[in-house]
Amino acid sequence: QDAGITPPPEVAQFEEIAPGSGEGLTIGFTQLGLGVPFTEALQKGMVAAAETAGVNLVTCDSKFDAAAALDCARQFRTQNVDGLVTFQADAAAAANICAEGPQVPVIAIDIEQQPCQTAFVGAANTYAGQIVGYAIGQYFKENFDCQYDAWVSLESLAVGVVNDMRMGGMREGFAQVCGEVQNLRVIDTGAGGQADTAQRQVTDTLTALPGAQKIIVVGINEDVVTGALAAARSQNRTENLYLGVQNFDPGNCQIWTAPHFIASAAYFPEKYAQLILPNLIKAVKGEEIAKQILVPHEVVTKDNMMQLYPETNC
């Protein structure tokens, strides 16, 4: 389905953790910020993987704030960790965070940590955006000859570059099929993308689009799409929303069963650890590892979601 978009060459495959492979190591993990499904799933995966590998994992939550990430780096230096996993929001702050942190191998998640990054593991954000945009484009081309009323983009400007890459990627992917996005409405849904903010703003936006039958709604995460659905539901216009999502949480049935759920990009955050830990352990032991390790995203649609996530129970 995503044939129109070529995956970047650095995409890797998930591998099982070898038990006991990191026995005796202490690894620091700067978390982006808990409270959203993505990071929680990531953290669960990390904790489980660390246990299997026998690694002592110490987590520090940067709460989406570069200054807090800097403090985390300093604390990890104090704790003499052997390796570091850094997932923090501000690529431009990486230099100083590197300088203040421990001088050990570093794996960066999703956001570059130059100059100290040994390897980058993460979403191919633009790619993940493009494949969803492309899927939406194909859907609209097949069914509506690329006709639609508006493109409502539920973003979280606070997330920074990642927001731009994903949301911009969706527009690019769509543009490959249907041409430049028309009637674009960018809505900021607050820090991390919040359902109630999205709901309020989509309610108003729907009012400003009276009679519109085909509104493409794309969201930076699942919460904002939930909010958009709630807004539409209360105006009886659920049928009018055509949804493009980022990430796939199998429990979020509300979205996957919506009448026009078109596509989402699976990020597999629960499996990130399978890319991170083995490589970091190797790096700590002085072995050479790949510099770019990207997640094998998949487009998720109504048709293939049961195969990708058999536990989906909607």
């Binding site: 809505i187 919040q194 359902a195 009276p210 699942e222 919460d223 709630a230």
Partner: protein, 325 residues
């Protein structure tokens, strides 16, 4: 705090008479009307019934919380735990609904809301912890609990759609509920002995005690009312969204305080009204709605909202000075 304290004893009596005629909230009303005119000109959708309903519906959660908050602020107290309280109620409701069914879960939600209010009230009136610290503390506690218990992913709630039902005039029940509560609290504050008591405590807690008012009991009750409001908004939110998550209700405390203060309730206590709070809510609500309709970028929306917030109050200050001169 600089609300031109007590207008010093130097308020001329004309002012007093003028004030009786042009009440405290006169300037805010004019400001609201100006907003309405502006957006009516700039967006064809603004002055339509569905949009008016949207505005009120969007306010319902903030508004219900602000009703309880108005009581507390008039009494000289704060409640910053409303946002995380709402999220916690919604989560407990969702969990209870899964195992017990909807109706018992509503009972659970009410108990949880009342419980939060009682906890706040106990800490403030019995232990004697400052209300700001107390509710900052419970804000963190209930947000943390919501995230810890519920996890980050949102929890689905099915079969609980009453808040979006539109039984008459195309108004959702959540908006109706807000209006009913606003009127109820307005009457409570302006017409009842309990309301009087609230004003008296805010005006001079010590003097209130000496005329026989059970100040602590009353304040405790004020926090419980705020807790009941959280229970209601938790249920409204759960029903509106059909789900709840760890970020539900984030930042509501600030929206609530903003509306109340904008509506003329003083941080010092003893003055203010529910009508003022409703005006404050509408000024902010109309602004957000109108700017979204005009498709203004949300970062500029922030700038405009901040500016207008200040303008609205400045306008009132300048009008007062004008009358005085």
């Amino acid at each position: 705090m600089p609300e031109n304290v007590q207008a010093t004893s130097a308020v001329p009596a004309t002012t007093i008479r003028a004030r009786m005629k042009a009440p405290e909230w006169g300037a805010l009303l004019i400001f609201l009307l100006a907003e309405i005119v502006f957006f009516t000109i700039n967006s064809p959708y603004f002055l339509s019934w569905p949009n008016i309903v949207n505005i009120i519906t969007a306010l319902s959660i903030t508004g219900i919380l602000a009703a309880g908050g108005t009581i507390l602020l008039i009494a000289g107290q704060f409640d910053l735990s409303v946002g995380s309280g709402t999220a916690f109620v919604a989560l407990m409701f969702a969990i209870a609904a899964q195992s017990l069914g909807i109706m018992p879960a509503v009972g659970v939600a009410v108990l949880v809301g009342v419980g939060i209010g009682m906890l706040n009230g106990f800490l403030v009136t019995v232990v004697g912890v400052n209300a700001l610290i107390t509710t900052l503390g419970t804000l963190a506690i209930f947000r943390g609990l919501t995230l810890s218990i519920g996890g980050a992913s949102s929890v689905r709630i099915t079969g609980f759609d009453w808040a979006i039902a539109r039984p008459f005039l195309d108004i959702p029940l959540s908006a109706v509920l807000f209006l009913v509560i606003a009127v109820g609290i307005a009457v409570l504050l302006s017409r009842t002995v309990f309301g009087r008591t609230i004003y008296a405590i805010g005006a001079n807690e010590n003097a209130a005690r000496l005329v026989g008012i059970r100040t602590k009991k009353t304040l405790f009750l004020g926090f419980v009312i705020s807790g009941v409001c959280m229970a209601i908004t938790g249920l409204v939110s759960a029903s509106q969204l059909g789900s709840t998550s760890g970020t539900t209700g984030t930042g509501l405390e600030l929206a609530v305080v903003t509306a109340i203060i904008l509506g003329g309730t003083s941080l010092k206590g003893g003055t203010g009204s529910m009508f003022g709070t409703v005006l404050g809510l509408l000024i902010v609500g109309v602004l957000n709605n109108g700017m979204t309709l005009m498709n203004i970028n949300s970062t500029w929306q922030q700038v405009a909202a901040g500016t207008l917030l200040i303008l609205a109050v400045s306008f009132d200050q300048i009008r007062q000075r004008f009358i005085r001169a």
